[in-house]
């Protein structure tokens, strides 16, 4: 009997033009949380996809309990006891919790002794049992589409648990969870550990890793860097190994000086009574205003309301004392407001189009000859300027954006907005799902923009980012603004106190 439940040795995988994995190893012990870390593009997801049978490896072997195994596809992985909760959840929203969990392997019974039909009673009873196991209390017959993101995730975990898994892969499980929900997830992980499940935990959040992981494997550029006991590591050590260089500061020094109030929102209220209401705030020239709150605090909704993506009933938006009329994003853009949306894939990138097309789409008017012919050279200049300024790593301007890493995609989108030279820039979770190196680069860009006199609103669910980057923090709870904290006085505690001020 091997000391490892599952080990991967010498795994290599190439895609046309890139070596995604180069002799990587990963050894998982029963009942331990094994953190897998590395910048985006380091090959973590590729390695997991090899383990889960989505990709075929070019070289290398997988052993379970010391015996070599071949995993042909995800179904095969599941039967061998390997389950995966994907970063992007893929539930079927219109079906119930029970149906989602037992999808593809519904418990069956025979009607009239010979007609096979789904045994709904058994399915929902089993679901209730499983939900109890992951400490969730909602109805197994509820539609998944009605659940919150964290509840959906619990459903996914319940699904994994139901397959009696021995290895559970969690790919960035906390990226859209609030602190409370993270705690709940950690309790589930503790339960699973007690049942001897080996857990692979992929995350960029250092504090989480240091708290929950037993062992840490770090990858860089598709190569295996090493495995450590989590107790030997510190945040700095991990970052150094991940980026391959020393990194002292998580946040750049800010040199912006907030000036006069330029942007003002008065009594802004959504048409949806459960969303944002009676919001008032001011924004100064060259100021970074952080927006904090729990998931569900309606921060995104508020900003999308200001940007014209969502409708409002009452309220005024003033720019330098002059009211702005914003009914759709185009109006906002024309009046000098830009917004980097939260959902990069859903409302940011146009995946099948090139970097050049993606970066130029909202500023095409600037590149026209004779008023209607797009001047390719001007677009190319825009791309090259941004590539240089923001260190965007792309083979060429014609490369499809979907083949870039998350951080580089985000930089392209920032470039898209800056091309319009906006005065007010709304950034909704600008560093979500981005690796540490790219995060720092984005922070530098934000700090530079503020220094240039741009006014920035930044929604963030990462406390340290909020505190580290903001001049002032506006905290929301349940659709209302519950208070403001000065950046220098901000602590996790005083922000959390405001964020939980429910009526």
């Amino acid at each position: 009997m091997s000391e490892y439940v599952l080990e991967m040795n010498g795994v290599s995988k190439s895609f046309p033009g890139v070596k995604a994995l180069d002799h990587v190893q990963l050894k998982l012990r029963a009942g331990k949380v094994h953190a897998l870390m590395g910048e985006n593009g380091a090959g973590k997801s590729t390695l997991m996809k090899c383990m889960f049978g989505i990709y075929k490896m070019d070289e290398g072997e997988i052993r379970m309990d010391g015996q070599p195994v071949t995993i042909t596809d995800p179904m095969d992985a599941l039967t061998k006891g390997i389950a995966m909760v994907h970063q992007e959840l893929q539930p079927i929203p219109a079906r119930t919790v029970g149906e989602n969990i037992f999808l593809g392997r519904y418990p069956m019974k025979k009607a009239l002794g010979f007609i096979p039909i789904v045994d709904h009673k058994k399915m929902y009873d089993d679901t209730a049992e499983l939900l109890k196991k992951v400490r969730m209390t909602f109805d197994p017959k509820q539609k998944v589409g009605e659940l919150s993101v964290s509840q959906m995730q619990s459903v996914e975990i319940a699904k994994a648990v139901s397959a009696n898994c021995r290895v559970l892969i969690l790919d960035e499980p906390t990226s859209s969870l609030t602190s409370n929900e993270v705690e709940a997830l950690f309790r589930i992980i503790e339960d699973l550990k007690a049942e001897d499940v080996a857990i692979v935990y992929i995350s960029h959040k250092m504090d989480e890793i240091l708290r929950i992981a037993d062992e840490v494997t770090i990858m860089r550029d598709g190569k295996y860097i090493g495995t450590w006991e989590a107790s030997e590591l510190t945040t700095d050590k991990i970052i150094t190994q991940m980026v391959g260089r020393e990194m002292h500061n998580l946040y750049p020094k800010r040199e912006n000086v907030p000036g006069d109030v330029v942007f003002e929102v008065k009594d802004f209220t959504s048409i949806n009574p459960r969303s944002f209401r009676h919001v008032n705030f001011q924004l100064r020239k060259g100021e970074i205003l952080g927006v904090g709150g729990l998931v569900g605090a309606q921060r995104t909704e508020l900003m999308e309301g200001l940007f014209g993506i969502r409708s409002h009933t009452t309220g005024e938006i003033l720019y330098k004392g002059k009211p702005l009329k914003i009914d759709r994003p185009k109006d906002a853009i024309d009046q000098g407001v830009a917004m980097l949306t939260e959902d990069r894939r859903g409302s940011g990138i146009m995946a099948v189009l090139s970097v050049a097309d993606n970066i130029s789409i909202s500023s095409l008017n600037q590149y026209l000859d004779y008023g209607f012919v797009i001047n390719g050279r001007k677009v190319e200049n825009l791309v090259q300027d941004n590539v240089k300024k923001m260190n965007i790593r792309t083979p060429s301007s014609k490369t499809l954006i979907k083949s870039l890493s998350g951080g580089n995609q985000q930089k392209v989108l920032v470039g898209r907005w800056l091309a319009n030279n906006p005065d007010v820039l709304i950034l909704d979770e600008p560093t979500r799902g981005i690796d540490v190196g790219a995060k720092y680069e984005i922070y530098c860009i934000i700090a530079d923009l503020a220094k240039e006199g741009k006014s920035i609103i930044m929604i963030s669910s990462e406390m340290s980012e909020l505190i580290g980057m903001s001049d002032r923090i506006m905290v929301m709870c349940d659709g209302r603004v519950t208070g403001f904290v000065n950046g220098s006085e901000a602590t996790q505690e005083n922000i959390m106190a405001l964020a939980t001020q429910f009526e």
């Binding site: 989505i54 940007f307 759709r328 994003p329 940011g348 146009m350 097309d357 012919v373």
Partner: protein, 337 residues
């Protein structure tokens, strides 16, 4: 020198790999050409060119709808409608069974303008239903398809329309060069002009960029300040114009018109686009691709005709080619996993 030769070779190979069906058909054409006399004749070539030209115009119209993840099922009936209107208005003043006896003989240029305006209206209606009433394009254009056909039947009284002014038919069926040997039909030039125009719009104008952006991610496009409503309306309106032009040309080409003209052309156009690499998931498609797709389809028809295949089997073969072409095309994307 050697290097550039290799490059050209690699490029040709890539094109062949990218369009296996097109290659197959070209080979088939050569084989048929060797077996049957007349296949490699100017008459046949000219016939192929003018058939392709009209279908290409329709496919260009539909391509914008497909690239933006929509479709236009009313294309064929709009072609029929335009043919009927053009036919009625271009009848000879002294023609015995002239449908609108009260109407004077009209200038065919004026008729073209009228037909185009009507096509524009149909397109605007489609665009309005899709963007303002938020009816999915498939259903919206299914509805207008039926409406357009109904009105075609009413105004043509369900009768075939003939007796066109000589200038109308002779101009559109005209050709450059002698009839017996080398010649190029005017329709070919019309197709080339519009092909170039669409290539220009798709690649060099803001409208084209907006179209691809909407197809790539409509939410992102809207958030980026693209007026998605207006862009889509423009796409459907342009499509309407193209169908009208095609209908006007088709009536003259056939020397007659009826409400049933153009039936099923929307499916041929969509098939041609798809074979030519226009992705139904949006954001992908080129004008040269559409041309290849349509050409392949027309070539296939002519080959079958020369082989003396029972015309009813044509449908079977065409259907197979659509499925096969798309299946092969899709392999390019799934093979990457």
């Amino acid at each position: 020198m050697d290097n550039s030769k290799q490059n050209t070779g690699a490029k040709i190979l890539a094109v062949i790999k990218g369009n296996p069906i097109a290659l197959l058909l070209v080979v088939a054409a050569v084989v048929v050409g060797c077996l049957k006399d007349n296949f490699f004749s100017w008459a046949n070539f000219s016939n192929l060119m003018s058939n392709t030209a009209v279908r290409f115009l329709i496919a260009l119209g539909v391509s914008g709808c497909l690239i933006t993840k929509g479709t236009d099922l009313s294309a064929g009936r709009q072609v029929g409608f335009a043919a009927v209107v053009a036919g009625i208005l271009c009848q000879k003043g002294d023609y015995g069974s002239k449908l609108w006896k009260w109407a004077p003989e009209m200038n065919i240029g004026l008729v073209l303008i009228i037909v185009l305006l009507i096509g524009l209206c149909w397109g605007l209606i489609n665009g309005f239903i899709v963007t303002k009433l938020h009816v999915p394009p498939f259903i919206a254009t299914l509805g207008t398809q039926t409406i357009v056909y109904g009105i075609s039947l009413v105004i043509s009284d369900a009768q075939p329309i003939g007796g066109f002014q000589k200038i109308y038919t002779s101009l559109i069926n005209g050709r450059l060069g002698s009839t017996k040997s080398f010649h190029l039909p005017y329709l070919l030039f019309v197709a080339l002009i519009f092909g170039f125009l669409f290539w220009f719009i798709y690649n060099k104008t803001r409208h084209g960029k907006y179209m691809y952006a909407i197809g790539g991610n409509d939410v992102a496009a809207e958030v980026s300040g693209v007026n998605t409503t207006f862009t889509l309306i423009r796409i459907y309106a342009t499509a309407g114009l193209m169908y009208a032009l095609a209908g006007y040309l088709l009536a003259a080409k056939s020397g007659g018109a009826s409400a049933s003209m153009g039936q099923g052309y929307e499916l041929e156009a969509i098939a041609g686009c798809t074979i030519g690499g226009v992705s139904t998931t949006g954001g992908i498609g080129t004008v040269p691709g559409v041309l290849v797709g349509v050409l392949v389809f027309e070539l296939l028809k002519i080959i079958l005709q020369f082989l003396g295949v029972n015309p009813y089997y044509n449908y079977v073969v065409q259907g197979l080619v659509i499925v096969l072409a798309v299946a092969l095309d899709i392999r390019k994307y799934i093979a990457k996993k």
